[in-house]
C-alpha cells in the first residue's frame, strides 16, 4: 500500500492549491467552449447533433489529457532536475510501481477535476450530454493514460526545454487532430487511420459515443486501455532504470 503514501503527498498539495487549480482550469475550457461551441458552432450540425453537443466530449478528452500529462510530467521533471526531491522516493524502501502508481493517481485526480469543470460549464452553455458509467470510465482511463505518459516522458527527458518540445510535437497536435473538433467520417481513409494511431482519438470516440447516447465502441475502449497499460508499465521500467 506504499502507493497510497505517495498519493497522499500529491493529495496534500492538491488540497492546498485546489482553488488555484479550479480557476486556472476554467480558463481554457471557457475559451474553447465560447469559440467553438457557442461562437463557431451556432446553428451547425455535425453527425446529426448540434456542434456544441458534438464538441463538448472532445474538449473534455483533450483537457483531461493536457492536465494529467502536464501535472505529472512537469512536476516530475522539476523534482528530478531542480529540487532533487525525486531522489527521496528512489532511496526509500518502496517499489518502483508504488512510486509510479501514487504519482499517476495524483495526475488522474487533476484530470478528473478539469473534466468536472468542463462538464459543469458545458451545462451552463446549454449542452445536452449524458453522464453515465461509460463516460466516467473513459475519462478515468484517459487521465490515467496521459498521467502515465507524463510519468514516462518525465523519467526519460531531462531538460525542461525538451519537455516543452515534446508537448509541442505530440500533445498539442493531438489536441486538434484526434477527432476532438471535427468528425473522422468522410476523411480520406489513410488520414483517418493515421489519426487512429493517436491515443486521444480513441478517448474522444468513446467519450462522444457515451455522452451522446450512441453505441459504445468497445474496440476503441480496449485500444485506450492498451495504451494506458503500456505507458504505465513502461514508466515503471523507466523508474527502475533511473539509477544510471
Amino acid at each position: 500500500m506504499d502507493f497510497l503514501v505517495v498519493f497522499e503527498r500529491e493529495l496534500l498539495t492538491f488540497r492546498r492549491r485546489f482553488w488555484r487549480y479550479l480557476f486556472s482550469g476554467m480558463v481554457n475550457p471557457l475559451l474553447l467552449l465560447t469559440a467553438f461551441g457557442w461562437g463557431l458552432g451556432r446553428g451547425i450540425q455535425l453527425e446529426g447533433v448540434s456542434y456544441l453537443n458534438y464538441v463538448v466530449p472532445g474538449i473534455i478528452a483533450l483537457s483531461a489529457m493536457n492536465t494529467s500529462f502536464t501535472s505529472v510530467g512537469v512536476t516530475l521533471n522539476i523534482s528530478r532536475r531542480y529540487t532533487k526531491t525525486f531522489e527521496n522516493y528512489l532511496v526509500a524502501p518502496i517499489a518502483a510501481h508504488s512510486i509510479v502508481l501514487g504519482k499517476v493517481l495524483g495526475g488522474v485526480l487533476r484530470g478528473l477535476l478539469s473534466a468536472t469543470i468542463i462538464i459543469l460549464l458545458a451545462f451552463l452553455y446549454g449542452a445536452k450530454i449524458n453522464i453515465n458509467l461509460a463516460a466516467i470510465a473513459t475519462i478515468l482511463i484517459t487521465s490515467f493514460l496521459f498521467a502515465s505518459l507524463g510519468m514516462l516522458v518525465g523519467m526519460i527527458i531531462w531538460s525542461h526545454e525538451d519537455m516543452n518540445t515534446f508537448t509541442t510535437l505530440f500533445i498539442t497536435p493531438m489536441m486538434f487532430l484526434s477527432g476532438t473538433f471535427f468528425s473522422l467520417q468522410g476523411m480520406p481513409a489513410w488520414v483517418a487511420s493515421l489519426i487512429k494511431l493517436l491515443p486521444l482519438t480513441h478517448a474522444s470516440l468513446c467519450l462522444r459515443a457515451a455522452m451522446l447516447g450512441r453505441e459504445f465502441p468497445v474496440v476503441n475502449f480496449a485500444v485506450l486501455l492498451a495504451f494506458a497499460l503500456s505507458f504505465f508499465f513502461a514508466s515503471i521500467v523507466a523508474v527502475r532504470r533511473s539509477s544510471e
Binding site: 503514501v5 532533487k84 532511496v91 524502501p93 539509477s243
Partner: protein, 282 residues
Amino acid sequence: MIRLDGLTKYYGDIRAVHNLSFTVEKGEVFGLLGPNGAGKTTTIRMLTTLTKPTSGRAWVAGHDVVAEPLAVKRSIGIAPQHLNLDGELTARENLEFHAKLYHMPRHERGKRISELLGFVELEKRADDLVEGFSGGMKRRLLIARALMHRPRVLFLDEPTVGLDPVTRRKIWDLIRSLRSEGVTVLLTTHYIEEAEQLCDRVGIINEGQLIALDSPANLKRKLGNFAVEVYHEGRAERRFFPTREEALEYGAEHARCKACDFSVRETNLEDVFIELTGRRFE
C-alpha cells in the same frame, strides 16, 4: 557494515571513482575526505543505490547494493549534499511523509517527530512550509529526516556545511551519541578539524582514488607529530618532525635571517590532508 571492493564509476570519459576498496565496521564513524570533485558524493550515491557502479562491488549492512537495493534501502539513512527537502510541505509534513515511506508505525511517528524537531530546534517552525526556511534550517531538518527511521547505517554528505558553530557542535555530539548506540556513520566534510574530532578513521581520496586510510592519530604520526612553519617573505614553508626537539632545531637553523621567523606546533589532520592532496584548503 560497509564494504567496497574495487568500486569504480565512470561518467562517460570522466573517471569519478577508481578502484575504491575499504571496509567500515559496525559502530564506526568513518570520514571520507578529499578535494572538490574527488568522488565522495559519487561513492555515497553508489553505496545508497542511487547510481550503479561501472565495476566493482559494494555491500551495505550485508547486502549487495546492486543485487539487493531494497534490503540496502531499508537499513540506511541519508543526508545528501544538496538540500532536497520537499519545499511544498511543512517541516512536520516532510518528516511525517518520510516516516510513512519507511513504514514507521503510527504511534512511533508523532513522538519521534517532536523529539527530532526539538533536537534541531525547529519546533517553532514545524508547521511552516520548508521553502521559506534558511539554508541552515534546511540542513538541520535534512539531518533530522535522515535519523527519523532510526537507520543502522547513516550516510552524511557534508552534514554541517553552512551551520553556525553552536549547531555544528550539537551535530557532533549527536554523531557521537549515535556511535555509542552502535550506528555506523560514513560522512564527508571539508572541515578537516571536524573529521579529526569525530572520526575513528578517515579515508582520503583524490581523483577518485584512495590515497590514505587510517585513524587521524596514525595519519598524523606518519607525517610527524610536530610541524615547523618557517616564514620567509610572506610565504610559509612547512616541515614535519616526529619530536618537538627536532622541529625546534630545524626551525632555528632555517630562520636565521632577520626577516625570517618560525613557529612549532602540533600537526593536525589538515596538514596531512594538504600534504597528501597537494592543495591548500581554507
